[in-house]
Symmetry: C2
Subunit: 350 residues, 2 copies
């Protein structure tokens, strides 16, 4: 199934309709400005403190273990890959590359999305072929272009060889008889990633500080909602909640610098209507997590905005509109939790 | 020139002599124990707060910039290499690999030594082919197996493309008209690395807390000094102050699992007496920075200790001696400065 399937055309109609009514009205009267945080709050909702999951309850011990494992290279086939390799916090947990490069320099099929604010999405990866962050962490250790380990058992053996993990896994999973398992690895990394929420000036604005956004940012927010961007990039994470065809109006590869045509979610479902469908990405920290799109084919945020207007909304955005939307997107650059920014020291082997 | 050249044989004689007189005496009388911190202090000296350099004075702005640049991958040819790639603090600024793997999976000629406590050595790299940490940082950006950039000018251009660096370089080098240069990159990274001093329980012991080391650690310290290990591994960093032939008594490759014979400093000087000569490595944090030796050919610290006894001192260390020396070496695992453990966020491109 995909949420995109039934409604592509209907959604396009709604988006276009919203654009028209929005642009028919004057865009910055004082009443409208007072009302803006409330309206925006209805579309985006408040950012939670953590991205909780009933299936993987967060505990301090799991978070701590997960944070350590996030930096663990010794469970990759060539010793060079950890979660942090493709998701370094120094680059807002993306890697700045078009496509991530894993063990033995293998190139991944798509761009590495940031793991910040990622855990509450409908799925993980661009085409939704991982159910959640836990599934993503688990599968990555045996993923041929990522950690590249031959089997889950090999990963578990490597973890068991590093003496210090016995205690850490026991503390995080006290009810397990043999807690060093790949599932617990995934649960711990997932628990850590569920804490990676990055509140930004936009959230300060939504929660009662009208000064938190400047005039340009607010105009950008109005345009973002009015043009219909928020039809897809909605919710607290400003995306991540549905699948959508990339290139509703025109094929994406006519605008991006894509070197090959990626059929998107079709690869997973083999359903014709999923061709060129991708998960709508989270836009938090988007100003810091280029290059853009599933193949990292566009370097520059404004170019990405222009392309989105053109091929999703059928709109040629003006320089001024691009500048305002850009200003709004900048206001989504958030504060990474201090705890996540402190590098843990890994247990030693013997 | 190398400091090892004139004195190989003489030093061996001194080491052997020291071993004999040390082992002739009882090794843990109460008087001797009281005297031990003073004796050890004479050999190792106090650990400074930072590893200052007249050529590269440290300022807070330089340190801050250097710390940011330490994580900068965008100045490597394939975007995957930063200083942190081979010197992640999570693994005590070594990488756990036999030989470091750089851009495009190129394997470096030797094991990556930790950058902790490294800046005060006589030179950088195992064979001393870098004058200091600044020179190491500078040359690494164009080093084919490390960052792999075609030229210094390319590195400078990449830095200039990342808008945020203009201000950071200006603040760090206020007197420079055009501060974004590779030399300033190297000076900033060097300034940061000069702060990477890691005081350990051994330092607490030297500076007046007799409880900081347990009985086994103290026995190990006595053995380390008595057997002659400290003849080479001396000074505040417990090494890094001279060159020495690896395999004074027997060829190293008969004991290590070396796959090829590395001629060491001979590669630099072409002087026959420098064959198999390497810089004596710093032993601070040695328990956390395996695998060991210039080619990472030995995984296990105790095996490394055994081999050192055998081929440097001509001694077959007993299980008990190895255990004691091991306990002492563990006491050299230090505290990485909090400031260094906080990941900085990198400036964005535009």
């Amino acid at each position: 199934m995909t949420m995109a399937k039934p409604g592509h055309r209907f959604e396009v109609a709604v988006i276009v309709f919203l654009s028209i009514i929005s642009f028919a009205r004057p865009s910055s009267s004082s009443d409208e400005e007072k009302d803006l945080p409330t309206r925006a709050g209805r579309t985006f909702g408040p950012l939670p403190k953590v991205m909780a999951s009933a299936r993987n309850p967060i505990t301090p011990e799991k978070i701590e273990l997960g944070k350590i494992l996030f930096y663990e290279t010794r469970i990759s086939v060539d010793g060079t890959v950890s979660c942090s390799r493709c998701h370094p916090f120094s680059l807002y947990a993306a890697d700045g590359l078009r496509k991530a490069i894993g063990n033995r320099c293998r190139v991944n099929p798509r761009n590495a999305p940031t793991v910040l604010n990622a855990a509450a999405q409908i799925s993980a990866h661009w085409i939704g072929n991982r159910t959640d962050v836990e599934d993503q962490a688990k599968q990555s250790v045996i993923g041929p272009p990522s950690f590249g380990m031959p089997s889950y058992a090999d990963v578990e053996n490597r973890l068991k060889e590093i003496g210090g993990y016995a205690r850490l896994f026991k503390e995080a999973f006290p009810d397990d008889k043999d807690p060093i398992t790949v599932d617990n690895f995934a649960a711990a990394v997932g628990a850590f990633e569920r804490t990676l929420v990055t509140p930004s000036p936009f959230d300060d604005y939504l929660t009662g500080n009208p000064q938190a956004l400047g005039e340009r940012e607010k105009k950008g927010l109005v345009a973002f909602m009015g043009m219909g961007c928020s039809g897809c990039h909605s919710g607290a994470y400003i995306g991540g909640q549905k699948y959508m065809k990339f290139g509703l109006i025109e094929p994406y590869w006519q605008y991006t610098k894509s070197r090959e045509i990626d059929e998107g979610r079709f690869v997973v479902t083999k359903d014709e209507s999923d061709k060129y469908v991708f998960k709508v990405p989270v836009l938090r920290n988007v100003a810091r997590t280029g290059p853009y799109f599933h193949d990292g084919s566009v370097d520059d945020l404004r170019s990405a905005e222009y392309i989105m207007g053109k091929i999703q909304l059928g709109k040629e955005l003006s320089k001024e509109e691009l500048g305002e939307i850009d200003a709004f997107l900048q206001s989504l650059t958030g504060r990474i939790p201090d705890d996540a920014l402190r590098i843990p020291l890994l247990p030693r082997r013997h």
